[in-house]
C-alpha cells in the first residue's frame, strides 16, 4: 500500500486527509476481503474429491486441523491426502476430539482439492464406518454451498440440504451449534 508523498497533498484540508484515509482503508479492506475467503485462496470448488481410507495422522492445530488419510488408488498405489478441517475448538463442538478419532479409523472425507493440485483438500463432510456424518469444515469461508454446512443452506433451493446427523458427543454436551472457524 503506497502512501501519497507528503508534497502531493500540499493544500492539506480535513476533507483531503479524509479522502486519503478512506482510500487507504478501501485498499486495505479490499485486500482483506479477498484474503478472508480462505477457501477461494487455496481450494478449487470445481474439483470435488472423495478420500476414503484410514486416518494415518491428525494435526490438531490452530487455526485449522489437518486429517491425513491414506487413500488406496485404483492402480494399487496409496496416496496420503491432507484434508483441512476447522479449528480444534470447532471440531470439539461438533463432537470429535483427539481421542475420538484414533489413528487407523476408517473415514470417508469429501471435499475440494487444492488449486495447486497437490494431495490436499478442504474437508466438508466426514463419514465414519457406522454411517455417522459430520461437517468438519469452516463456515463463512466462501466454500461452495453444497449443503454440507448446516448453517449455510445450499443455493437455489432445488437441491435439498443433506441431513447432517450430529456425531456422538465427545463427553459433554458437545453437539452445540457449529462455530465460525475463520483464521
Amino acid at each position: 500500500m503506497k502512501l501519497r508523498k507528503p508534497h502531493a497533498a500540499r493544500r492539506s484540508n480535513p476533507a483531503g486527509a479524509l479522502a486519503v484515509v478512506v482510500a487507504a482503508a478501501a485498499a486495505f479492506t479490499g485486500a482483506q476481503a479477498s484474503a478472508h475467503h480462505a477457501f477461494g485462496a487455496e481450494f478449487d470448488p470445481n474439483r470435488p474429491i472423495v478420500v476414503r481410507g484410514p486416518v494415518v495422522k491428525i494435526e490438531w492445530t490452530n487455526p485449522h486441523a489437518w486429517f491425513h488419510v491414506e487413500k488406496s488408488n485404483e492402480d494399487g498405489t496409496k496416496t496420503v491426502w491432507m484434508m483441512e478441517a476447522g479449528t480444534p475448538n470447532t471440531l470439539l463442538r461438533r463432537g470429535i476430539h483427539r481421542n475420538s478419532v484414533p489413528v487407523g479409523t476408517e473415514v470417508i472425507i469429501d471435499g475440494y482439492q487444492s488449486k495447486d493440485l497437490s494431495h490436499r483438500g478442504n474437508g466438508r463432510n466426514m463419514t465414519f464406518a457406522n454411517g455417522q456424518t459430520l461437517f468438519m469444515g469452516s463456515s463463512g469461508t466462501g466454500a461452495p454451498r453444497d449443503g454440507a454446512d448446516p448453517t449455510e443452506p445450499p443455493r437455489g433451493g432445488d437441491t435439498p440440504a443433506k441431513k447432517v446427523e450430529a456425531a456422538e458427543p465427545a463427553g459433554d454436551e458437545a453437539a452445540g451449534e457449529p462455530a465460525e472457524a475463520e483464521e
Partner: protein, 195 residues
C-alpha cells in the same frame, strides 16, 4: 531439493526446532481457546498501536489536529500506543512460539520481520530528528519535509506489516518440491528440507 546437499540446517532453523520441541509450544497450537484468544488479542492490539500511531503520523503530515502542538498530541496518545505495543509484541511472540518452524520458513513472516526492522529504524531516525529541533516545528500545522517523510514512511511500513502479516496465513510458498529457487532461498527451505 537439489540444493539440499549444499546447506546445513541453519541456526534459525535449529532454534525453531528447539522451540517447537517444547510441550508448551504444542499445547498452544493445539489449544481450544488460548490460541484463538491470543490471535484476537494480537489483532486488537495491532489496531490500538497502529491506530494511535497513525493519528500521530497524520498530525506530523499536517492532515489531522493541525491546530494542536505535536507534543500535546503525543503526550496524550503515545501512552495508549505503548500499551498496545507491549501486548502486541507479547502476543506476537507467543504466536510465533506456537508454530516456530512453520513461521521461520514462511516468506511472508520473514518479510514482516524485515518490515518491522525497517519500522524500528524509521522510528529511531525520527526520534533523532525530534530531539534535534522539535521546538521549532512543534506548533507548525505542517512540520518540515524530513519529519513528514518519516511519518509517511511510518504509515506505509505499518500498513505493509499488517498486509504481509495477514498473508502469513495464505502462504503458497511452503517449503516443498517445485518452488522457484528464489523462494527456496528466501524462505530458507534448504534448512527445512534437509531435515
Amino acid at each position: 531439493m537439489r540444493h539440499v546437499s549444499l546447506y546445513e540446517p541453519s541456526l534459525l532453523h535449529s532454534f525453531a526446532e528447539w522451540l517447537d520441541s517444547h510441550a508448551w509450544s504444542t499445547a498452544l497450537i493445539e489449544s481450544l481457546w488460548v490460541w484463538p484468544l491470543l490471535e484476537s488479542t494480537h489483532v486488537l492490539t495491532v489496531m490500538l498501536f497502529v491506530g494511535m500511531l497513525a493519528m500521530v503520523d497524520l498530525r506530523l503530515l499536517g492532515f489531522a489536529f493541525k491546530e494542536a502542538p505535536v507534543s500535546h498530541l503525543t503526550s496524550r496518545i503515545l501512552p495508549w500506543s505503548v500499551a498496545g505495543f507491549v501486548v502486541m509484541v507479547a502476543t506476537g511472540l507467543l504466536l510465533f512460539y506456537s508454530k516456530p518452524v512453520s513461521y521461520t520458513h514462511n516468506v511472508w513472516f520473514r518479510l514482516k520481520v524485515v518490515l518491522l526492522i525497517a519500522a524500528a529504524v524509521n522510528a529511531w531516525m525520527f526520534h533523532r530528528r525530534v530531539s534535534r529541533d522539535r521546538e521549532r516545528w512543534d506548533s507548525q500545522p505542517k512540520p518540515p519535509a524530513a519529519v513528514r517523510m518519516t511519518a509517511a514512511m511510518s504509515l506505509g511500513i505499518w500498513a505493509s506489516v499488517i498486509v504481509v502479516g495477514r498473508m502469513i496465513a495464505y502462504n503458497w510458498f511452503e517449503c516443498r518440491g517445485g518452488q522457484p529457487a528464489f523462494i527456496v532461498w528466501a524462505a530458507g527451505c534448504a534448512a527445512e528440507l534437509a531435515e
